[in-house]
């Protein structure tokens, strides 16, 4: 997260890394080394904490001891205040890595007589620096001197001398100053500290406060000029260094499954591109969260990490609800693949949310994130802010190759909501979920409105939530129009019935044909039988004719014999040929 100071690089200004996440990126390395930096802002914007973090990180991460010259708070209070961030300042003081000197000034207890200077302060600071070999110094808040001492002229010349002295000492210093009316600091410290000026701000819009940081000036160095949101929480200070300047992220051809096989089918059968941004929008109750949970589930099942930013439901509630459709998210939470980050959108402003997400993502290094719903955040700012925030978030996620699924509650006319128009152009995939009323029932439909870089299905699918997850059915498209739900079922039943009728008709006709065929075949058999009997008759006739001729011949012989012998019957009847004697 942090870049080391460019020590030894002659061409560039040496820099002292602050170790504050994001700030070192914005300043391209840290604060100017060996020079004072003015840190200004109104009360309560975190100047003291910034200073303390600078010193603490200096010791812990860069082995640079530091001195804290406190004008406002006592050392005990300072130590206690940063104890909540787990900064063990007391130990570092014992180890002679940090020295705190508290300067007490009370005007009422001090009388002035004649000329004086602030040599005492120089001696103290010099003593503290030398005693621990400090490389870093924080002076918080030196302007207290103006209320403690009368002679402003002396103060001004002494302050000028102090900054020169700090420079000569070669320490990297942070001088904090209270924001003034129309000026950066109440007493014009910016006149003296000219190298680097950082402005902290804590603005309240719509009762939500957002901390912002801006580098007003950084002599001799390029730096981000925007206002960057930052957060202070138990993990310290995090600046969100994101600008929307970069459009140079890699385009991956890798795919991540959507978690719904039917939906993957619509996306060339493979799912979303890795690093793409997916918008799922629709009315309340169309299954946006369910789709998101499917995606989270599939990501974890593939062994990747995923962060689920829940804006409306508590993690426990999401886990319970998703169990009803057969998704067990708890097991991924237990395996540390899934992290829930649940925050009410109204907890803080848009930019603070952005910074928190940035922090979470940098910490957990997920492959995918779910933001459910994005629309909850949108209420936190004007349309332009929303656009810029989403843009920065999308850019940040893309630059890190993180696939992001945003759900968005469409207001009113669903797909026409103004914010969606603004956001949708940033998205690579846009899934629309409808909940259409027809025939007295609402049916869910899914339409893949766009999906950059792939041949995706253009069909409206019916979207069914079952006990084992989301199923997509092709909606019924027929002469009756597009039908879903029970209308689809009825139509399908009707279709099935008519198919049955047609089938039966077919069967009947083919039976008829078969019968006719068999009839004809039978007739053929009969005719064949007739033919056969005719043939037999003819044969019989033939044979009868021959037999008769023979009989006649025999008879004639017999008669001839009878006439010659007078009845000698023992003579062989044939042999008529041997009767030539007659």
């Amino acid at each position: 997260m942090t870049t080391k100071a460019h020590a030894g690089d002659l061409l560039t200004l040496g820099k002292s890394a602050t170790g504050i996440r994001g700030l070192d990126e914005v300043t391209q390395g840290g604060l100017p080394q060996g020079r004072p930096t003015l840190l200004c802002g109104s009360a309560g914007c975190g100047k003291t904490l910034f200073g303390m973090t600078f010193l603490y990180n200096g010791v812990v991460e860069y082995d640079e001891p530091g001195v804290f010259l406190a004008f406002e708070e006592r050392p005990e209070d300072l130590i206690k205040n940063v104890g909540s961030l787990n900064y063990d300042i007391e130990r570092l003081i014992e180890e002679k890595k940090i020295a705190i000197d508290h300067v007490e000034l009370e005007r009422t207890k001090i009388a002035e007589s004649g000329e004086y200077d602030l040599e005492g302060l120089f001696i103290r600071l010099g003593f503290a620096i030398d005693s621990i070999g400090a490389k870093r110094v924080v002076v918080d808040t030196i302007e207290t001197l103006f209320s403690g001492l009368e002679n402003e002229q002396v103060l001004r010349s002494e302050l000028r001398r102090l900054f020169e002295w700090l420079k000569a000492k070669g320490v990297t210093a942070i001088i904090t100053g209270e924001r003034g009316e129309g000026t950066l600091t109440r007493y014009g410290l910016e006149e003296y500290v000219a190298d680097c000026v950082i402005l902290l701000d804590n603005r309240v819009d719509d009762q939500l406060s957002t901390r912002r940081l801006r580098i007003v000036k950084y002599r001799g160095s390029a730096h981000g000029t925007n206002e960057y949101p930052f957060i202070i929480d138990e993990q310290g200070i995090t600046v969100m260094p994101i600008t929307s300047s970069g459009l140079a992220h890699d385009a991956s051809t890798e795919r991540l499954p959507s978690g719904v096989p039917d939906l993957d089918q619509m996306l060339e059968g493979k799912g979303y591109y890795k690093g793409s941004s997916i918008l799922v929008s629709g009315m309340a109750g169309c299954g946006k969260s369910t789709l998101a949970a499917h995606f989270a589930d599939a990501t974890c099942a593939a062994g990747h990490r995923c962060i689920y930013f829940a804006m409306e439901e508590s993690p426990a509630q999401i886990v319970r609800n998703m169990r009803s459709i057969g998704i067990d998210l708890q097991k991924w939470v237990d395996k540390k693949l899934l992290r829930f980050s649940a925050r009410r959108p109204s907890l803080y402003g848009l930019e603070t949310h952005l910074a928190t997400m940035y922090r979470d993502v940098s910490d957990f290094d997920p492959a995918a994130v779910v933001i459910d719903p994005l629309s909850a955040l949108l209420s936190g700012g004007a349309a332009g802010d929303v656009h810029s925030m989403v843009l920065r978030l999308v850019d940040f996620l893309k630059a890190n190759g993180i696939t992001a699924l945003f759900t968005n509650l469409g207001v009113g006319a669903g797909e026409n909501a103004a914010t969606e128009v603004q956001i949708s152009s940033l998205m690579d995939v846009w899934l629309l979920l409808y909940n259409r009323e027809s025939n007295g029932e609402h049916n869910r439909q899914l339409y893949l409105l766009k999906s950059r870089g792939m041949a995706h299905s253009n069909q409206v699918r019916e979207f069914i939530l079952s006990s084992d997850g989301i199923k997509l059915r092709p909606a019924y498209v027929g002469p009756e129009g597009v039908l879903t739900g029970s209308a689809r079922l009825a139509q399908e039943a009707k279709d099935e019935a008519s198919v049955l009728v047609r089938q039966q008709e077919m069967e009947r006709r083919s039976r008829e044909l078969e019968r006719k065929r068999r009839e004809i075949a039978a007739q053929i058999e009969i005719l064949k039988a007739q033919l056969a009997s005719e043939d037999a008759e003819a044969d019989l006739l033939d044979r009868e004719g021959v037999a008769r001729e023979d009989q006649l011949g025999v008879d004639r012989v017999a008669m001839g014999v009878n006439r010659q012998t007078g009845g000698k019957s023992d003579m062989p009847a044939p042999k008529p040929a041997n009767k030539p004697k007659t």
Binding site: D101, K109, G114, E115, L118
Partner: protein, 94 residues
């Protein structure tokens, strides 16, 4: 002269600067004039012992602290304005 009347004064300086020298001279003069025999002056050079600057909360140089009598009083400057010194040290002109 009672115990309580004694003035125990400490003057913090940083080396031999013109302001320091002036302060020492001015203080001695005032004490001799208004508190003859009733005062002690201790001059502390912070250049020699800078830790004392921290311990005694010294910011401006020169600083005069009235240790006794109680309460502690602080005056900063080269003490050229006698009237302010007298008021600051709570000394009634004699």
């Amino acid at each position: 002269m009672t115990e309580g009347d004694g003035y125990n004064l400490r003057l913090y300086v940083a080396g031999q600067t013109p302001k320091s020298i002036a302060a020492i001279a001015n203080l001695t003069k005032i004490c001799e004039q208004h508190l003859p025999g009733r005062y002690t002056i201790e001059i502390i050079d912070l250049m020699k012992d800078p830790a004392l600057a921290v311990r005694h909360q010294i910011v401006a140089i020169p600083t005069l602290i009235r240790q006794l009598p109680e309460p502690l009083k602080r005056i900063i400057g080269d003490l050229s304005n006698v009237e302010k010194v007298l008021i600051g040290l709570d000394i009634r002109p004699t």
